[in-house]
């Protein structure tokens, strides 16, 4: 078929475009030469220098803490927001609320970052670890809300009604029925929030303070001075972590899928 050959070409070129730069980046992190474009043989040298770069390591540690904390708070808040949007069709200011959920998704980061900074200054809060965490929580919770909301929209409400009907109060019903069932979406939301936090340069730059330099800020300041293989090394590690995470996630999905198929098989055999 002609159209399928066309499709295959489009996809090949598209994915090549998406992946070649990343692959090159990873390859050159193992380059012995300091010149980024000259291949000087395989070496783990840059990983060693990276490891001994205290500033980089400190920044990584800050980023990790900010990421875990903001993703966790953001997941709680985002899940609550998703519940509000799907469950309560009418409350005062609902339109404003849904606007506040969707706007940060497209809002240019420079605006979000600057406006938050000005809030902290107005409130006379010293900038640092906590202001970055709060800023990250605020924009990541919106992503979590969208992810969890899409799961809640297909959630069978009669499951909750059944629990209520069997004598389980609403709050307990949420923890015993709703949360376990939407948990994959909540987890996906957390992962997304964590990644976004790890990734953010602009908002963090506005809201950071002494002692709270995050990894992207550090990378950015080094990149401005020129390309160094050390940055390639840390980028490769980050890409590796993400790839492992994604592979684990897809394996879990695959296992769930296998179990579903087995269940269907069982159900078919269970027919009286």
């Amino acid at each position: 078929m002609k159209s399928s050959r066309f499709d295959a070409t489009v996809l090949t070129l598209g994915f090549a475009f998406l992946y070649i730069p990343i692959v090159i980046l990873v390859i050159y992190s193992f380059n012995a030469s300091k010149l980024v474009t000259v291949w000087g043989g395989f070496s783990l040298n840059w990983y060693r220098t990276m490891w001994s770069n205290q500033g980089l390591m400190d920044a990584a540690w800050v980023t990790l803490r900010v990421g875990v904390l903001s993703a966790t708070i953001g997941t709680v808040l985002g899940t609550l927001a998703a519940l509000s949007l799907t469950r309560y069709q009418r409350f005062y200011g609902r339109t404003l609320f849904s606007g506040m959920i969707y706007a940060p998704l497209v809002m240019p980061e420079v605006i979000t970052g600057l406006s938050m900074l000005l809030l902290f200054v107005a409130l006379n809060v010293d900038r640092g670890f906590w202001t970055v965490t709060i800023a990250h929580t605020t924009f990541t919770m919106c992503y979590v809300a969208i992810v969890v909301q899409s799961r809640l929209m297909t959630f069978d409400r009669s499951l909750e009604e059944a629990a209520l009907d069997l004598g389980c109060p609403p709050v307990k019903t949420f923890f015993k029925i709703t949360l376990p069932l939407i948990f994959p979406a909540v987890l996906a939301g957390w992962m997304l929030a964590f990644t976004l936090s790890l990734d953010d340069l602009v908002i963090a730059s506005f809201n950071t303070g002494p002692g709270a330099t995050t990894l992207p800020i550090k990378i950015y300041s080094q990149v401005r001075l020129g390309v160094t293989p050390e940055i390639n090394a840390i980028c490769t590690i980050l890409i590796g972590l993400v790839t492992i995470g994604v592979i684990l996630a897809s394996l879990t999905t695959k296992r769930t899928e296998m179990r579903r198929i087995r269940d269907e098989h069982d159900a078919a055999r269970a027919e009286p």
Binding site: L80, L105, V110, T112, L119, D199
Partner: protein, 308 residues
């Protein structure tokens, strides 16, 4: 309540009412405080004067006592300055131009990809979606950074072109630090955001529609323009807005890949803030950017509401 009717008589019902109130109130108040309030503040500060102090502006709001004082001090000085200096106007126009061209390029590249994904066999689709999402999980900064090594005059692209004899050994690719590099960076970074909404719209389209069209004598290329494309319009709008709005305010890409003459408003704002430490002017720049983006944001929100 003294006149407790049967409706409010149950303490457990009362408790669950409280819980319901908290579910809405906690995220609501958080966003009001950390998302809406900052916009009001940014608006106020854009109207105040620059001062050499820390923070480097004259605070406009010192409690309610100073309210009258505050009102008298407000002025449009910063905005007047923005309109008087052609540099800012040029930066806004240039941002819009770059965002428009980038969005168009994204559609041009993203649509065939999304269509090819939607037409792929069922078993292959989850993998293809995964492959589109995967780069998104790796750092934005890293992905932009990766292009520096490729586009630099002595970078890999030059090496490649020299190696295949397309270029003389002394020639170099002069893309880095130009608008072309910015477009490449934009398309590269935002491609997943364009492909996914398009794919979502194309994938849920009923394949029998095209069969019906073909059955009624409509050739494939005509069926595409008469059926496929109109039905994918919600995806086109969503994808375009998701890309256009943030690109307009983009900072990292023009800063790392663009040249000195690449004017973009996100970069201007950054410079005013971090370079010139003129916070009120930076705020005014942000406010105007926000006003420019109100219409696309409204379109985006409307689209989302219809989908939900």
């Amino acid at each position: 309540m003294a006149s407790a009717s049967a409706t409010s008589a149950h303490p457990s019902a009362h408790r669950s009412h409280m819980a319901r109130w908290l579910v809405v109130a906690v995220p609501y108040l958080w966003l009001l405080l950390f998302f809406v309030a900052p916009f009001l503040i940014i608006f106020k500060i854009s109207l105040s004067d620059t001062a050499i102090a820390m923070p480097p502006y004259t605070p406009v709001f010192k409690g309610f006592d100073a309210f009258g004082d505050f009102a008298s001090k407000l002025d449009l000085e910063n905005y007047l300055f923005l309109t008087s200096d052609p540099l800012y106007i040029k930066a806004y126009l240039s941002s819009l131009r770059i965002a428009l061209i980038s969005t168009f390029l994204l559609l041009l590249i993203g649509y065939p990809m999304a269509l090819a994904m939607a037409r792929a066999p069922n078993s292959l689709r989850p993998t293809l979606v995964m492959l589109v999402i995967l780069p998104f999980w790796t750092s934005f900064l890293i992905r932009v950074y990766a292009w520096i090594g490729i586009l630099k005059p002595d970078g890999l692209l030059t090496l490649l072109l020299q190696a295949i004899g397309f270029m003389g050994p002394d020639d170099q690719v002069q893309i880095f630090r130009t608008d072309i590099a910015v477009f490449i960076g934009m398309v590269y970074s935002y491609l997943p955001f364009m492909v996914l909404p398009l794919y979502a719209a194309l994938e849920k389209m009923d394949a029998t529609l095209l069969e019906a069209a073909s059955d009624l004598g409509c050739p494939p290329w005509k069926a595409f323009w008469k059926i496929t494309f109109p039905l994918s319009l919600p995806g086109v709008i969503a994808g375009s807005m998701i890309c256009f709005i943030p690109i307009t305010g983009e900072f990292v890409i023009p800063d790392l890949l663009g040249g000195a003459d690449t004017l973009m408003i996100g970069k201007t704002l950054w410079t005013e803030f971090f370079g010139n430490r003129d916070w009120p002017l930076a705020s005014a720049v942000a406010v105007i950017l926000l006003i420019l983006l109100v219409v696309p944001i409204a379109i985006f929100q409307n689209q989302q509401k219809r989908v939900v």
